[in-house]
Symmetry: D2
Subunit: 354 residues, 4 copies
């Protein structure tokens, strides 16, 4: 089969691979629609270390092509939503923990990138289908479902980490697709004022759509200064969904005593994250600093889908570009790589494979 | 001064009283707008035991008339929002607890009814003004603010007790004013499907406005049966905002394993609450049963007000009747007492006292 | 193979059965030491409904006899500790929930009793071995390990449900083996005063050993009256580890506002649990009522074992009777059934099967 | 009256001051026994900025000399325990928050150092006596009580921030008096293995007494390396109770995915705290980083005292030096300043003032 990915760091390429083998607990999926994520281009450029002949992609919905002998809940032909994080639920490490993203170590539940080929292919493999797949439910479009598997689930993890209380003032730093989803999640999690940090026009418009009450820009001065002034002493909760080590320092600074910094941004592995001790009350400020990876599994995605079914949120509003055809994958990856000002999130319909 | 309340159980009356004395930490408020609550008529009919010559009412906004010598944050003339629950913050009992409603014992923070005259008067007293009053902020109407002091704060306490997760299926039993507020709170706390239980037309319309996805009625059969069928096994969270001991049993029954029943309903003091052990998995079902009284204090109300300022919710949508004039208090109380089909929440403007 | 259990309700019997079949994810265990639980006699007498030709028992440690083809972490010959609750970790129902005891419905993770033969046999079956077995670690005796699989894990679940804070006053009602373990868990979870309710001499002695500061008895009057007087208004947390519907009512009564009732007792399925509304502040008291079944899985038991390794607790102190020989099972079951005054917990060594 | 403190940075001195004025809500205390804290010498050397003519000290028990007109719960002659952190409970900032240490801003509840004279004096002032004082209860010695007001309350705050679960592996970095208390708190909060980091002999002995299972030393190599090897991948929870910015980095490194770093150490205000992004999973590791100041108030101290009454812990074990006489204050401060190898915690009896 064909797949699109990387020959080596810096070299995107079409790859020819065998159709993956389906274990007894697993499923093979034929994707119908995929999205490109900045993690894909991050890997392509070496952000997760050396990789060779790897099919990229981890956001997909599709049709079940094959199931293993022990799978009970799915059959070929089912239209399924595939979480980007698919834990090994038989690993005791994730039992009774608030996150399931680290089944056998750091981010090891992120199998599409960590340990096997991704979903930019004619077929892809899902481990433990019963525990990791969700049926596309009535009342949810495939496009909406596609936005749950990473963008919404990751953004909402930021909201969960932030432990927002009714009426809290929340800052969302970075309003790319994950930040926008975090923002939408904060709005339906009880936040009062939501200050979004960003500048690109389509993103700003989407931020207002999802519930931002204020928009501030890096261009108007230090963002921590702006937040401290607007909030008279700091925000209750700050969600980082984009930026660099400098952003991290600013986030700590703009958070008030007893507040929380919640990170869902991939920092560069060469960075050092830090802050002057004074910004953390020399250790005494009761400012929590948290950060985590997208939780996975069937139930997680079912809960996201339930929000869409109930009309609480429409994550498809972040889709800015729709490309038709499996062959458009290189164009979609290039779009994400170049991050044009109009881009929020590109998706690709595999309608030529049906 | 004049006040409206009860001569004794069953006898509503205008009463003549001295203006309350302002202690060093306290404030005296001139109400500008008040709401009538079913608790008021409940007391009138003896629901909280014997009371004589008591001014009723506990939902008000108004103007500060006088402050004590130790009050720092308020001055005469300030327009303030007054929580129905005004704890004694110097009582160690409420330190570091999740609720502050029981400062010196059960519901003792509910001072307007428990230990002194209420707010249906030309002037009323507020203990510990700095800790218990909130300024009416920009972007919030007095009517909206008035709905926060009990209805919204109580309803949202139900939501907090229910510990709703993103996408949870929530039932709200009873869609009077508190139930409607609970429903609105569930919708902005991350609930997916929300099943409202009620029948009166204006309440049903308001329930849809606030985010109900389904409406069921007692008239169509046992409500637990209906929920169990709709949800295939039970709701994640059930909020009780109205009903009797039978309702309590139904709530336990319609909640799934690992779910929560959250009560903000006043049951009758002569009732016994219970359920067959089987409905609780003979003790093993991990169904939490919780119930509590409206949290109080300035910060609580500030958080509610912040939600309104941000446009997350408009609690004034529950106001069904607006009466003008201090002298209309008997009519308003009578409205609440007779619970006509069109009634949700009546308020009274004291515009003749200005 | 031989196993001991019930022919039908009321008829204990030796049964002849095939050795269970080992699925790809599973293991077959040869028990070396087992304990009898009151649940076993409860089933025998019909407490969980109709059962025929069922091998009883759910508390065992033993030697791995066989593993399935997909098992990675265990090999024949390993000495393992077997949780009484062995969830199906591939069921999405338990993903991201605080309990895992209800994998496909109420208590369905309790497979030894719910859906297959138990462990009073020459061999028994464990589903999903990698996720559900723990190796017997250094520094823990088999006897201690045996006490973790139900008694300690269940008792500690009561402690977890009670959400004890440092210095809280805790009541433990019932000081049989589960209650004693709950008591030991409360003592190492930060409880201050611990009031144990019980009368039998060996249990009272063990309660003092595990950290009870006060012992009260049913014989000296209503236990709620006693607790209310001793605590001047109620305990912070009450753990129910024995008793009837009346006990439940007493527990609610003896808990103070903002406190918690935590149940790990099996009530009789014919009982109705309830309380006068006044004892729950007519719904307003912020008294949580919780109850649940023993969490399962490898990690749970590893954490219990870690406490023993560190010397925090010795659960083997509750073993009152040690019988030697597989053939002594009937005697052990009879001991549990007759509940002699000297009994706390009987165990049986299968040393004649080695 | 006389008091001991600092003339200016670097100059300890006896000071002559007026007896403090008692406001209506306040109390004046005659200390009977005080302890010296490293914070005292930290201030003396300029660690909290410029201070002139300031009486030092914030750990005391004593006799009530005077109460304000509105104080209800205390009378002259009462023997009281005085929390080092005495919040202004009328400040809405601390309502409904998990910490009360920041009443009007960062650490503002720490009034003895932040805004007025301390307790090394013949008399000292306590704000809001009803909310901030606790009676010395039966079964607790004054020495034990004295150890609760900062050492135990601060150490136990570290334990609370760490959110220890049953059986967790916990590292305590620094085993001075606060670290030892944190260690004792971890042991009675359900920790399994506890690895203490320290070298001084009396501290190591006390660490073993309080429940350490392992002791490691800075002298044997990088402490993070040691912990990572001992725990095969990192500790569940790490409490920092001493050290520098380097320690902070090590703590992040030695914590496993889904673990928590909990800080109760005062870092130097000139330091920058940080870590390579890789140690935090480039933001994805779900490692929480928390740090806070000692919670205050009556109830907090009552809970600590309840632990002592129940025999769960004896904090007086950390007292290494007992000096007799008000006039010994300079010697005690000098002891703390020079940190001799035998020192853990010095206290001074004011027996010459009685």
């Amino acid at each position: 089969m064909k797949g699109y990915g990387m020959r080596c760091i810096g070299s995107p390429a079409w790859l020819e691979k065998d159709i993956p083998v389906c274990g007894p607990l697993d499923a093979i999926i034929q994707p119908t629609m995929v999205a490109v994520c900045s993690s894909d281009t991050h890997i392509l450029h070496g952000g997760f270390g050396e990789h060779k002949d790897l099919i990229l992609g981890h956001e997909a919905v599709g049709i079940v092509a094959e199931v293993g002998s022990m799978v009970r809940g799915f059959r070929p032909g089912d239209y399924v939503v595939v979480p980007c994080s698919t834990p090994d639920w038989l690993s005791p490490t994730i039992q009774s923990t608030p996150s399931n993203a680290h089944d056998r170590g750091l981010m090891q539940s992120f199998k599409f990138i960590g340990s096997k080929d991704g979903i930019f292919a004619e077929r892809f493999h899902v481990n433990q289908a019963d525990a990791n797949l969700a049926l596309l439910p009535d009342g949810v479009t495939p496009e909406q479902a596609l936005m749950t598997v990473d963008m919404m689930s990751t953004g909402y993890h930021g909201v969960e980490l932030a432990e927002i209380g009714f009426g809290d003032t929340v800052v969302v730093i970075g309003i790319g697709p994950v930040g926008l989803m975090a923002l939408s999640g904060a709005a339906i999690r009880g936040a009062g004022r939501i200050i979004a940090v960003g500048t690109r026009k389509p993103c700003v418009e989407a931020a207002v759509y999802y519930g931002a009450t204020d928009i501030i820009s890096y261009k108007a001065g230090d963002i921590a200064d702006q937040v401290l002034e607007m909030t008279k002493g700091g925000a209750d909760k700050v969600i980082i969904a984009g930026g660099s080590a400098e952003t991290f320092t600013q986030a700590v600074r703009m958070t008030r005593e007893m507040g929380t910094v919640a990170n869902v941004n991939f920092f560069d592995h060469s960075e050092t994250l830090g802050f002057p001790a004074m910004l953390w009350g020399v250790g005494m400020a009761n400012k929590d600093i948290r950060g985590g990876f997208c939780p996975g599994g069937a139930r997680r995605i079912q809960k996201m889908l339930a929000l869409i079914q109930a009309g609480r949120v429409d994550p498809a509003r972040i889709i800015s570009h729709k490309l038709h055809g499996f062959t458009k994958l290189p164009e979609a990856v290039e779009l994400m790589d170049s991050k044009s000002p109009e881009l929020i999130k590109p998706i690709v319909y595999f309608d030529d494979l049906a």
